[in-house]
């Protein structure tokens, strides 16, 4: 039963995966929990290998006479497991889940019990400086405005929203830019409230991470439907799908 909810990769909590800064997943969660268990990690267990995890891992490596590189490979995991014998995995409810999994391989029944219970929330990484809600709001706007456009056109719309944030002629917050009356048709006609697909979300993350097909544009319009003469006179940079992007 429980199994069917889960993607295969999450079955064994501590996998052979090498973890480094930026990694996400159940593995990272267990790493953080184990480091916390013996007092090296003091932050929030969120499954995202951030700076806090990095420094505490380095301290652990230093204490245990290992090479201090902040990367959790197989050797480190072995040492960490030994150092945290009494650790109880909160996700699986079992002690030392990896060791148990190995010894219970043949025992179907107990193996099932050691499967992690599905977590309340999937681990979603957000680019620094942005929350998952910011990304959701932007994805809503991008989806409402440009869901019929090619992927790159959606990245471009997301980039325009971000470029407006740093422009002196626009509000300085994501919500301010998106909900400015008349700024986006999708906001005016309520299409912003549609549920966005993953494509729009990915486009937003690409734009936040620095991809800007428009090289700094703050306006765009559809030449077939745009009624505003003023916008047509702005310096045009490029055409992507149905939209012309301009500064």
């Amino acid at each position: 039963m429980v199994n069917s909810y889960l993607p295969k990769k999450e079955v064994n909590a501590f996998t052979s995966q090498v973890l480094s800064r930026g990694s996400t997943g159940q593995d990272v969660k267990e790493l953080q929990e184990r480091l916390k268990f013996i007092g090296f990690f003091k932050g929030k267990v969120d499954g995202i290998f951030g700076w806090g995890t990095y420094w505490s891992l380095r301290n652990f490596q230093n204490e245990f006479d290992m090479k201090v590189d902040g990367i959790a490979g197989p050797k480190l995991k072995e040492k960490l497991q030994k150092a945290t014998k009494n650790y109880k995995n909160t996700a699986t409810g079992t002690k030392n889940s990896t060791a148990n999994n190995a010894s219970n391989k043949n025992n179907n029944n107990s193996n099932k019990n050691s499967n992690p219970i599905p977590n309340k929330k999937p681990i979603v990484n957000a680019p620094s400086g942005y929350t998952n809600n910011d990304i959701k709001l932007m994805a809503n706007a991008v989806y409402g405005e440009s869901r019929g456009e090619p992927y790159i056109g959606q990245v471009a719309v997301a980039a325009v929203i971000l470029n407006r944030l740093t422009s002196s002629s626009f509000p300085n917050s994501i919500s301010g830019v998106i909900y400015q009356p008349g700024a986006f048709t999708a906001v005016a006609d309520g299409q912003i409230n549609l549920t966005p697909n993953d494509v729009a979300k990915k486009a937003v993350i690409d734009a936040i991470n620095g991809w800007d097909p428009t090289t700094g544009c703050i306006y765009y319009y559809n030449p077939k439907t745009a009624t505003n003469q003023w916008i047509r006179n702005r310096p045009k940079i490029l055409t992507l799908g149905q939209h012309i992007f301009c500064k």
Binding site: K42, W51, N125, F170, G176, D206, G210, T215, L240
Partner: protein
């Protein structure tokens, strides 16, 4: 008798429909009134803000001591931000009002920077004083314009909802008293950035565009060749090349292509001058993670080396489900050149590079002489907050808020559970930037 029943029923139905229609109408009217009230509030507050702004700048002109100047300038800063937020609530879609908004942003930045400065040690310069005078004049004309619109709205009972519906209609005449009033405000002799002094430009905005490049011009087929060499998936078909429109500071080609086995599509932009790749993105399905983020970063580094981006150092990595995103930065003699950054996207199923972003690299890459720092590392370290525990330190070149490159000592330190990136100017010891990571 039967007719009577039918007539009675119909009458009841009619009355019911009538009542329903009436409540609907009433609800709609309520919503309209509420929306109109919101617009009116935002507009009247804006007019009041500009009044206040004008008065406060006026009094700063006559002030001389720090104790009175600094608080007044801080107030100017607050009011300019507030007025911008009120503008953002008005339905100005078809009204170019960007110059006035830029003016208010600049007033805010200028007053903020002067308000936080120690005016005892560094009093207002002649230039800054004349900037203040310029702001005062411009604020007066904005104030007069808005007051005019306000009078019109009050005397003629004009509604903002009309402006809003007008912008929703496609072919409506754009003749409206409110709109004309705003256009008039916008057209008053625009205060340009240069009025705010030489150090005053919006570096962030500037750094986003392309700069003039040097090199041989390439043609379409050369652009396709470059694109094919950068994009990891071979097997391309349906290749389309477009050129940027004439508003771009530097023309570029955009190349899009489809792939078979695996099914994917790619898009790339390459400058015409020099044929420098700006970026590319490949989109394809990535089922499950097979390689670690660490291995993916090594593949990314190898890719950069093979594309002749030498001396690139990984400084940040993050995982988004089955995609790794890596930040690389140029390192010359152990000095990190942050403006010359490259981002890579690597698929975590097979380690293929599915995205490159070299726009900043292209606009900042040049042969540079790194000056000798005037401060030593130890001297710089003493400048940082002593509660911060330094973990890593190095020299780095940073792009300042004014879009200028500055040589800094970079300290990576921890305080409590947080990590900070601190930049101390290597020439004068100024704390250029402190960023919580």
């Amino acid at each position: 008798m039967r007719n009577g029943i039918i007539i009675g029923a119909l009458c009841a139905a009619l009355a019911g429909t009538g009542y329903w229609g009436y409540t609907q109408h009433k609800n709609l009217q309520n919503t309209h009134v509420q929306a109109e009230n919101n617009y009116q509030r935002a507009f009247n507050e804006l007019a009041y803000d500009i009044d206040l702004l004008h008065d406060k700048i006026g009094s700063t002109l006559a002030m001389n001591s720090r104790t009175s100047l600094s608080p007044e300038l801080a107030d100017v800063w607050r009011i300019s931000i507030e007025s911008k937020s009120n503008i953002a609530q008005l339905p100005l879609k078809f009204l170019p009002f960007d110059k006035t908004q830029a003016f208010l942003t600049n007033v805010g930045n200028f007053s903020y920077r002067t308000a936080i400065r120690d005016l005892e040690k560094e009093p207002l310069t002649e230039q800054e004083y004349s900037t203040l005078k310029g702001i005062y004049k411009k604020a007066e004309s904005v104030q007069n314009g808005l007051r005019g619109v306000q009078t019109d709205i009050m005397n003629k009972n004009l509604s903002w909802m009309e402006v809003e519906t007008m912008s929703a209609q496609r072919k409506a005449p754009r003749d409206n008293v409110i709109m004309n009033g705003f256009k008039h405000v916008e057209q008053t002799k625009a205060t340009t950035d240069s009025d705010f002094g030489p150090t005053f430009s919006n570096g962030q905005e500037e750094s986003k565009g392309l700069k003039k490049l040097t090199g041989k011009k390439i043609n379409e087929s050369e652009a396709i060749k470059i694109a094919k060499s950068f994009i990891s998936i071979k097997n391309s078909k349906d290749i389309a090349v477009n050129k940027s429109l004439n508003g771009s500071a530097e023309p570029f080609f955009s190349i899009s292509m489809e792939h078979k086995r695996p099914t994917a599509s790619s898009y790339m932009e390459i400058t015409e001058t020099g044929g420098y790749p700006l970026f590319f993105i490949t989109t394809r399905d990535i089922s499950s993670q097979k390689i670690s983020l660490d291995d993916a970063s090594k593949k990314g580094k190898k890719y950069l080396d093979s594309k002749k981006y030498t001396d690139m150092e990984l400084y940040d990595s993050s995982q988004y489900d089955t995609i790794g995103v890596f930040q690389f930065v140029k390192t010359v003699n152990k000095v990190r050149i942050y403006p010359e950054a490259i981002q890579l996207k690597v698929a975590l199923d097979n380690g293929q590079v599915i995205g490159l972003n070299a726009k900043n690299y292209v606009t900042s890459n040049h042969v540079r002489t790194i000056p000798k720092p005037k401060l030593s590392m130890d001297q710089a370290r003493k400048k940082i907050n002593r509660n911060v525990k330094v973990q890593e330190e190095r020299l780095a070149i940073l792009l300042s808020d004014f879009n200028k490159e500055v040589l800094c000592y970079e300290f990576l330190g921890t305080l409590g559970n947080d990590t900070y990136d601190i930049f101390i100017n290597a020439m004068n010891g100024r704390e250029e930037k402190v960023k919580k990571l």
